[in-house]
């Protein structure tokens, strides 16, 4: 990957985190941990890989994206705003009664392809979109991001079976393997491991990537797009709350709200990261 593009995607990742945090702070609540763990994934998808057009958000044969872990709306809405689907100013209305930006992702927001929130349903929806694309002869891809705790839901494995069976090779999913869920560590609450082997058994091509390394993610998506006859699962090794020392690997920040001091630390660290990336431009 070109150095310039790499820096750009890293900068957008940091910007997603900072803007998502501002959004959560203004709203008074919102899911930090899982939003921060997918910042690079969203950056690489929306600022490099996905064929979408903010000027024509409903184009039929566009690439589509389903955030199956719909509670990570702060990251998704922020990404869409930064990508130009709606003004960033609008993020200030997040979770307000008069706003279309609800706590979980909703499809009447420009750029959102499907409403999600009830865990375990997004992969099936993405499969439906992928099968539709195949029926219509589109050359598009459908991307889906799942939480690692989310794959405890049985429906995910129904979808895994069906996607393998129907050879949905235009379906590219990512498991955000940040290793924490609401009640604690995955392997203490209910271990879904090994993740990759399970999808392989259902006929998927399985790739692994450091979910915070934009080059690795980019390479994985490029390889995934070449898949023939198999849906692709990218198991992304991530850190919940990534990018801010006081948020990282803290179960509390699945849905909890930071203190004033924690916000200050977070902005200081994120601003430093952004300044560092700007300096290297």
């Amino acid at each position: 990957m070109e150095e310039m593009k790499k820096r750009y995607l890293e900068r957008m990742s940091a910007q997603i985190r900072k803007t998502a945090l501002e959004t959560i702070q203004t709203a008074g609540s919102g899911h930090i941990g899982g939003s921060f763990s997918i910042a690079e994934i969203l950056s690489v998808l929306y600022f490099d890989k996905m064929q979408v057009d903010p000027a024509d958000p409903k184009r039929e044969n566009r690439d589509r994206f389903v955030i199956s872990k719909g509670h990570c709306s702060p990251a998704v809405y922020t990404t869409l705003a930064l990508r130009g689907f709606f003004p960033a100013e609008h993020l200030k209305t997040f979770r307000e009664i008069t706003s279309d930006l609800s706590g979980h992702v909703e499809m009447h927001v420009p750029g959102v392809d499907m409403s999600t929130g009830s865990l375990g349903q997004g992969l099936s929806v993405a499969l439906g979109m992928a099968l539709y694309g195949k029926c219509k002869g589109y050359q598009n891809h459908v991307y889906c991001v799942l939480g690692d705790g989310e794959i405890q839901e049985g429906q995910v494995w129904e979808a895994a079976m069906a996607a393998g069976f129907y050879k949905a090779d235009n379906l590219i999913a990512v498991v955000d393997n940040n290793k924490l869920q609401l009640d604690g560590a995955l392997d203490e609450v209910m271990s879904p491991y090994p993740i990759g082997d399970k999808f392989k058994a259902f006929g998927w091509k399985v790739l692994e990537a450091d979910g915070h390394d934009v080059e690795q993610l980019s390479a994985a998506f490029d390889l995934a797009k070449k898949s023939k006859g198999q849906p692709v699962m990218i198991v992304a090794d991530t850190v919940k709350g990534k990018g801010v020392s006081v948020f990282e690997n803290q179960v509390r920040f699945h849905g909890g709200h930071p203190t004033k001091e924690e916000f200050e630390t977070a902005y200081r660290e994120l601003n430093e990261q952004l300044a560092g990336l700007e300096g290297q431009r």
Binding site: V66, G117, L127, G128, G154, A159, M161, A162, Y166
Partner: protein, 313 residues
């Protein structure tokens, strides 16, 4: 009268008849020869997907297709269509308002010998409490065909309830019969009491009206094929003109057609009401006709309820 035909069989034939529209995609969960999507599958194999015994995935795959512009229809037994995948239908179909039709076959007691685990008596209630959902319960083969056409033309979430047993066609004998979603149909024009029914209880109610006629009681029979949105005007007119109402459905007495009618009457025009249905208990194995009689859904039961309602005028 013609042949006896189940509403699921009529459904399958109608889906094949109106299936040429390229927007239509049909999903089944290993029940195509029961829900009768087999006809469509045979004729339009490229737009038919068997999803195996995995109803939750089926509903959401259909939702994904509908989000792209498809008219997606999912099929399973009513028990699973309304119960097992309630969350999927609620959050991925009704909430985003997607054009998915959820079709539950083998509804009610008349699944028969398979017994209580498969006799869904809660689906009308479950589906109609969901915002944005249209709920349709056709009463015979003739009406089912017209309901399928209307549901396909309507853009938005629908629940369609069909049954297992072969039934007489009754609606084709009424010359001015016209099917429109949300508009109940006055089949007979009595003035003493009104029987509002859906599904196979429409023909049982017509039989009840005959029993009442023999006693000099003139019953109005309404075929309320759309439970939601319910036809308020027709209900209120019946309340005003006949002064007593009976509802009849192959469903729990809680939350179904009776509930929908009660909600209209109690808030707009309190009127004596009797609700004929399964009395908040589970079903049982048995022959369909035997079951209807055992659980109090025979024409005699409807007629008796009519007299009770009239006595309360």
């Amino acid at each position: 009268m013609g042949e006896k035909i189940s509403t699921r069989e009529a459904y399958g034939r109608a889906l094949e008849e109106f299936g040429a529209d390229e927007k239509i995609y049909v999903f089944d969960s290993d029940l195509k020869s029961c829900t009768m999507t087999a006809y469509f599958a045979e004729k339009y194999p490229s737009r038919f997907f068997n999803m195996g015994i995995a109803e939750a995935n089926m509903v959401d795959v259909a939702a994904g297709m509908a989000s792209c512009g498809a008219t997606a229809l999912v099929h399973t037994f009513a028990m699973f269509a309304a119960g097992r995948v309630y969350d999927q239908v609620r959050n991925s179909v009704a909430y985003p308002g997607l054009n998915v039709k959820v079709v539950g076959s083998h509804a009610g007691l008349t699944v028969g010998e398979d017994g209580a685990t498969h006799q869904c008596i809660e689906d009308i209630g479950l589906m109609r409490t969901m915002p944005g959902m249209t709920v349709v319960v056709p009463c015979d083969g003739h009406e089912t065909r017209l309901a399928v056409k209307a549901v396909l033309e309507y853009k938005g979430p629908c629940y369609v309830r069909t049954g297992r047993c072969a039934l007489d066609n009754v609606t084709d004998r009424f010359a001015d019969y016209q099917f429109e979603l949300g508009k109940g149909i006055r089949l007979t024009n009595g003035k003493d009491v009104t029987i509002i029914a859906c599904g196979l209880m429409v023909q049982e109610s017509l039989k009840a009206a005959k029993l009442l006629e023999a006693e000099g009681i003139h019953a109005r029979v309404i075929d309320m094929h759309t439970i939601k949105p319910i036809d308020r005007e027709l209900i209120l007119a019946a309340a005003e003109e006949t002064g007593a109402i009976v509802t009849a459905e192959e469903h729990n007495v809680i939350g179904g057609l009776g509930g929908a009618v009660a909600e209209v009457l109690s808030t707009a025009r309190p009127t004596p009401l009797e609700i004929v249905g399964v009395k908040d208990c589970f079903g049982h194995s048995g022959h369909p006709e035997e079951l209807l009689r055992h659980f109090g859904l025979a024409p005699e039961d409807v007629a008796a309820a009519a007299k009770r309602a009239m006595a309360r005028k």
